[in-house]
């Protein structure tokens, strides 16, 4: 028993360090004065902190424009993904229908296609359809990436809300739609919000499709990758950019962590 406990805590420590250490190092570097950053040997804990690096990053050309682009793409992605995945999730949770297993399987199958393989045909197709270098084009790809995930969450949210409540509303005189709007939807809102936020994070962090499918209308990750690779941006710029990128996700996950865990059947205090 004790051995097991030690094993579990040991594994948690290793995984936690593996995830947290880079975050910590990036955060430290982002707030380290430039001259200290280039010192050798560099102290693990910097002697001084400054906002210079962050301010330099935030004042660079294109950063705010691509941040806005990222937000717009994420918003569009949430909208599109819910338009498709929410009804699917509801149907999967509530009804038995022909082909239900196939739908569930195909949701997972989408996850099996490596995006790299699809990138060139996708770019060609998007150029042909006039979607290349548009925000909606990126949002469509992000939607495709997030649908499996949103469907799974939405299904579990609706499974968790007893259908009997909707039936009770129907026996009390409401039709199907009203029963859904008055009873199920209000109860599903927190879960749906969690799914939306997660979709936001997914789109905000997605870099591959965004890089390939845009040229002038870069999203933030695409811009950073671009400037790092082609322009050979200085080290401090990369750290500041990385920190700026990762913060929304960290904050959001921190805020909804409890809810995400309960979604998958684990409760934490």
């Amino acid at each position: 028993m004790r051995v097991r406990l030690v094993g579990i805590y040991g594994a948690a420590l290793v995984i936690g360090t593996w995830v947290a250490a880079p975050l910590l190092l990036i955060a430290l570097a982002a707030f380290t004065p430039r001259n200290i950053l280039y010192e050798w040997p560099r102290p693990l804990w910097p002697r001084a902190f400054s906002l210079d690096t962050m301010l330099f990053f935030l004042r660079s050309t294109g950063v705010w424009a691509s941040t806005l682009n990222s937000v717009v793409v994420a918003g569009l992605t949430i909208g599109l993904a819910f338009l498709i995945a929410a009804p699917t999730g509801y149907a999967l949770a509530r009804y038995r229908f022909r082909g239900k297993g196939a739908v569930q399987l195909s949701i997972l199958v989408v996850k099996m296609f490596p995006a790299t393989v699809l990138s060139i045909p996708l770019a060609v197709a998007f150029i042909r359809w006039g979607l290349y270098d548009t925000l909606i084009g990126v949002a469509i790809v992000h939607t495709a990436l997030s649908i499996p995930f949103v469907t799974v969450i939405v299904t579990s949210v609706f499974v968790g809300i007893s259908y009997e409540l909707e039936e009770a509303a129907m026996t009390l005189g409401s039709n199907r739609l009203r029963a859904f709007l008055r009873v199920t939807l209000p109860m599903a809102v927190p879960g749906l919000a969690a799914a939306a936020i997660f979709t936001f994070v997914l789109s905000w962090n997605e870099v591959f499709a965004a890089t390939i499918l845009t040229l002038d209308h870069r999203t933030l990750p695409a811009l950073i990758v671009d400037s790092v690779i082609s322009a050979g941006a200085p080290l401090h710029f990369r750290f500041a950019g990385g920190f700026f990128m990762v913060m929304p996700a960290v904050v959001i996950i921190f805020l909804i962590r409890r809810y995400l865990l309960t979604l998958w059947g684990v409760t934490v205090r």
């Binding site: 039936e167 009770a168 509303a169 129907m170």
Partner: protein, 385 residues
């Protein structure tokens, strides 16, 4: 207020037959109990009446109106679910007036009706609370109040008491009975608890495998079960069954059990007067024809003798009509004791007075009250007339 007619209902889930050709006539203002073991189709039947289940076949008529194709909200019904299904995100008040809101009733009328219902069910002090802050019994009352305020023609209840503890169940049972007396809505009540069924029902429909086996008043269900299943399902402990040999010779009917001739009373329900009374009973419709093998001509042969535990007398010495038995156990059961005895290889339960002292393996003689004996066909289990 409305009478209900269920006509040849049939419902399957894939290969599972949930209801098999069920027909039932329920009178206006009647309290009808659907009783049966788990999985016999009670909930399915109730949900079919509510319109929550699509039927394969059959028609449902409520108050002279064919509602088979109507959605639940247009059938003039209200339902109390087994899980209560109170809306967790609404206060008790909002729960109660939900149905009234859906009907677009003016706010002051909503308030008046909710107040009235809350007082009747003694939850007036809880109107601002949320369901999570209520006990099971209080939640159940909210569910009943919510169904009641819309003044339905038909009130449907699915095991509303099954989630309550024994004491509260007793209390709520009496409350439901009182409520029905005051409202007089036609009520269909599902339960698998025979005590609940016997105490609440004007009539009880006993279901088995998606079919009504017997539908009768509680007294008749108890005293004259239509077959072995009903006798064995109702009563605590249920009816005893002993195999015997029917002897019709020398004019006096008797059953030979374990070598002893048990006489049958001249006014035994198997006589012709009993039979005609039974067939003319309102509840007898639908099953009288199928279950009773015509005008009873009892013929000699193997039969099943059914007798309830309280109609057996234990005597300590051999008597002519006493069946010899051996004591297995004696269990105290509150106001009386429950004796398990063995006749041959068959077990018999007898309720006896608390002051009776018996030892295991002791020999006793059991005398059956002749007028209480019910004869069943040995193979089909049907009651013989």
């Amino acid at each position: 207020m409305a009478e209900i007619a269920l006509i040849n209902l049939r419902k399957t889930y894939g290969h599972v037959l949930a209801i098999k050709d069920l027909s039932l006539q329920i009178q206006d203002g009647e309290f009808l109990v659907l009783l049966g073991p788990s999985g016999c189709g009670k909930t399915t039947t109730l949900r079919a009446i509510a319109g929550l289940e699509m039927l394969d076949r059959g028609r449902i008529v409520i108050g002279g109106r064919d509602v088979t194709q109507l959605p639940p909200g247009k059938r003039g019904i209200a339902m109390v679910f087994q899980s209560y299904a109170v809306f967790p995100h609404m206060s008790v008040y909002d729960n109660i007036v939900f149905g009234l809101r859906m009907r677009g009733m003016p706010a002051d009328e909503q308030r008046r009706r909710a107040q009235e219902a809350a007082e009747l069910l003694e939850i007036a002090s809880l109107l601002d609370r949320y369901p999570a802050q209520l006990s099971g019994g209080q939640r159940q009352r909210v569910a009943v109040a919510r169904a009641m305020v819309i003044r339905p023609d038909v009130l449907l209840m699915d095991e509303p008491l099954s989630n309550l503890d024994a004491l509260l169940r007793l209390h709520m049972r009496a409350e439901l009975k009182r409520l029905h007396r005051e409202l007089r809505a036609t009520t269909v009540y599902v339960t698998h608890d025979q005590v609940e069924a016997l105490s609440l029902g004007d009539r009880i429909a006993v279901l088995k495998d998606g079919e009504i086996v017997q539908c009768d008043s509680p007294g008749r269900i108890y005293d004259t079960p239509a077959n072995r299943f009903v006798g064995g399902f109702i009563g605590n402990p249920p009816m005893n069954f002993l195999s015997g040999e029917l002897r019709t010779a020398d004019s006096a009917l008797a059953v030979i059990v374990a070598g002893v001739a048990v006489p049958l009373a001249p006014d035994h329900p198997t006589s012709s007067t009993g039979a005609s009374r039974e067939v003319s009973a309102p509840g007898g419709t639908g099953l009288a024809g199928s279950l009773r093998p015509g005008p009873g001509r009892l013929s000699a042969g193997t039969v099943m003798l059914g007798i309830r535990p309280e109609y057996i007398e234990v005597v300590m010495s051999s008597v002519p009509d006493g069946i010899p038995a051996e004591v297995v156990v004696l269990e105290p059961a509150g106001p009386n004791q429950l004796l398990t005895a063995r006749v041959g290889r068959e077990a018999v339960k007898v309720t006896v007075a608390t002051d009776l002292v018996l030892l295991p393996a002791q020999r006793v003689w059991l005398r059956m009250s002749p007028s209480r004996i019910r004869l069943m066909d040995a193979t089909t289990g049907r009651a013989l007339v």
